[in-house]
Amino acid sequence: MHSSSISIWFFIGVLLVVYGALITGYGVFELAAGLPAHHVVLANLHAPLWWGGLLETLGLFYAVRFRPGRARK
């Protein structure tokens, strides 16, 4: 499943990195701009910020760990 091919985990990592960047970016923007709570409950917890950050972290891990060309056993 690996050999010289790109692992599915790399694809997943890339998508999570992009999602994480978009959602965290929105979270930062919302926080900085002091935007209203968009009618969602518990907006004060700023979920986009930390959930986006979590996606970003996971995405980076998988994208780097399974990047094409990296030797794996």
Partner: protein, 595 residues
């Protein structure tokens, strides 16, 4: 995967609740630009994967079996993901709101024992005999007749169910987001057709793993925030108890799995524990998880026997966790969902959530919870999770259809000897044609939604009898070709006959389900149980009058006549038995904790 929007289908099992989804008319959510970008990126990614893998699906082994190169993790996640359709997510969340934690039975006892049984007991035979499909196993064990009957019924039902899924998902998108039905059907089906036809089973599996991750990434935040709002599980139970005491929520035991199972009349599902344990836990669950090629195909693609055995075990851990993103949001909805005036929201049955009523149906609880908690971007991710769930289910259907059509119908009946490239080409076209038939079915259902009930029942006719015949073939050397054929046929006729009996005379339910207090869901379970018992008995009796095959012919097919390959020793933490024991312990602990 079966995809009817009813709770009963959720774990992929045919159910018996009213199948037609009815939602309120105004869209529940309005997506912003960021949400749309998140959804669009998902489509770009699945197509990218399909195009990337096109060059790795040139032989039939690569196209239909993913080259048998999947690791245990990939096969295991795909195994669960192919079953985790978005409609099931929504249907079971709605059931949890309506019936409480009882809905969890379909994820725990209705899945875990069967998954472990597949991995530890049945998988060696499927894997060692190198079959390409479950009908292929029947051919090796019982001959061409049983294979053809099984293949034709499976292929027919798979595309039909795929179409029903497609329509139901389009209906969900229309109601939740206000999207046009045609737009949803065409876009999603084109995407699935493209990536499966291009990359075959490998592409379907890769995308299922991606979809599985997205389902968790998109849906997990809802129960987390819900628990924060209710101050944890204890706080939730306290609020629920207060609501029940004040009459705001109908009385009932919403948080225990087994306490109300002593009698049919003690629980809202109208089920007895024997129906849950033997009907759901054995007949339906094993029928689905061990003989439905849609899920078994994922495990057959594993790169070794150990991976093939480990894959369902890995899948079982995730299956046990799914109630956290499905059942829990439904339960939390009981206490947190509010109307615009701050009063407690009451979701209603589908027949009451009519346009103009202003009411929401049980099936809307998951989208309502998403809208409640998810900010821009996160809402797009949540909707992507629903779309991903739908597409994984549909891809599972069409890839399994393609393999069964090519290997078990086209090759034995139409073109017996051709070059390998020819069969790959047939597989690609079967994928596309399967999607086209599914689209046709979707529009058929759109114009006559009552068909959904019949399609659902039809599928249930074939699954349980097949289990009886496969079990007899796999564990009894004496089972004969005639025994298998008649066991399958009479078991199926039994299932159809019992269904028709109750359909014509609803009072017959007391005989089929053994109680006048039984409800429709109990009928499903007992009907499945009777059909398994009949198929086993018929196979047994007919086989006694025939001549058994020589032992040498049964190598790789039957317990006691098969020499299993000796696998390299591995550390205990890589051993499938170790993880099976862990899964059993967690399974028992969960059932005891929520007893």
């Amino acid at each position: 995967m079966f995809g009817l929007l009813t709770a009963a289908t959720a774990a992929g099992f045919p159910g018996s609740l009213p199948a037609t989804l009815v939602f309120s008319v105004a869209p529940l959510a309005r997506l912003g630009t960021l949400d749309l970008v998140v959804i669009a990126l998902y489509f770009v990614m699945v197509l990218w994967i399909g195009f990337y893998l096109k060059g790795r699906s040139n032989t039939s082994e690569e196209f239909f079996m993913a080259g048998r190169e999947m690791t245990a993790w990939i096969a295991g996640l795909s195994f669960v993901s192919a079953n985790l359709g978005s409609l099931e997510l929504m249907g079971w969340a709605g059931s949890a709101y309506q019936y409480g934690i009882l809905a969890t039975h379909w994820y725990w006892i209705g899945a875990i024992p069967a998954m472990l049984f597949l991995g530890m007991v049945m998988m060696p035979f499927y894997y060692v005999c190198k079959t390409h499909s479950v009908p292929g196993y029947l051919k090796l064990r019982y001959g061409e007749g049983a294979r053809i009957v099984s293949a034709v019924s499976f292929a027919f039902m798979t595309v039909l169910m795929s179409g029903v899924n497609m329509f139901a998902m389009a209906e969900v998108m229309r109601v939740v987001l206000g999207w046009d039905l045609n737009f949803s059907i065409i876009v999603s089906s084109l995407a699935v057709a493209a990536y499966v036809a291009l990359g075959g089973l490998r592409s379907a599996i890769f995308n299922e793993v991606l979809q599985f991750i997205l389902i968790w990434g998109g849906a997990l935040l809802v129960p987390i925030l819900g628990l924060v709002e209710t101050h944890g599980w204890t706080g939730f139970k306290a609020r629920l108890a207060a609501n029940i005491a004040s009459g705001a929520t109908p009385a009932g035991d919403y948080t225990h799995l087994w306490r109300s199972m002593g009698h049919f009349a003690d629980n809202p599902m109208g089920i007895h524990w024997t129906g849950i344990v033997f009907g759901l836990g054995f007949a339906i669950s094993c029928g689905y998880w061990t003989t439905d090629f849609l899920v078994v195909q994922r495990v057959l693609a594993a790169n070794s026997l150990r991976s093939a055995r480990l894959a369902p075990v890995i899948g079982s851990f995730f299956k046990m966790a799914v109630p956290f993103i499905v059942i829990l949001p439904g339960l939390l909805g009981l206490v947190v969902l509010q109307n615009s005036d701050g009063s407690l929201m009451h979701l209603v049955g589908q027949n009451l959530a009519t346009p103009g009523s202003g009411l929401h149906s049980y099936n809307e609880v998951l989208p309502l919870m998403m809208v409640r908690y998810l900010a821009p971007g996160l809402l797009g991710l949540g909707i992507t999770a629903l779309i991903a769930g739908f597409m994984s289910g549909m891809a599972g259907n069409v890839s399994a259809f393609s393999a069964v059509w090519t290997y078990d119908i086209y090759q034995p009946l139409i073109v017996k000897k051709a070059r390998d490239e020819h069969y790959v080409s047939v597989g690609r076209w079967a994928t596309i044609i399967g999607v086209i038939i599914s689209i046709g079915t979707a529009y058929l259902v759109m114009n006559a939604q009552g068909i959904m009930d019949y399609v659902q029942a039809l599928f249930s006719f074939f699954i349980s009898p097949l289990l009886g015949v496969v079990l007899m073939g796999m564990f009894w050397k004496r089972a004969t070709k005639a025994g298998g054929f008649w066991g399958l046929l009479i078991g199926t006729l039994t299932s159809i006959g019992l269904w028709a009996w109750v359909y014509i005379n609803p009072a017959a339910l007391r005989y089929v389900a053994l109680s006048p207090d039984a409800k429709a869901m109990a009928e499903n379970m007992y009907r499945a149980l009777w059909s398994v018992i009949v198929s086993i008995l018929v196979t047994f009796v007919v086989s006694l009058f025939g001549k058994a095959r020589p032992l040498a012919e049964l190598n790789g097919l039957v317990y006691g006549a098969t020499v299993l390959p000796v696998e390299e020793p591995v550390p205990f933490y890589k051993n499938e038995w170790f993880w099976t024991v862990i899964a059993i312990v967690i399974f028992l602990a969960l059932n005891i904790y929520f007893w």
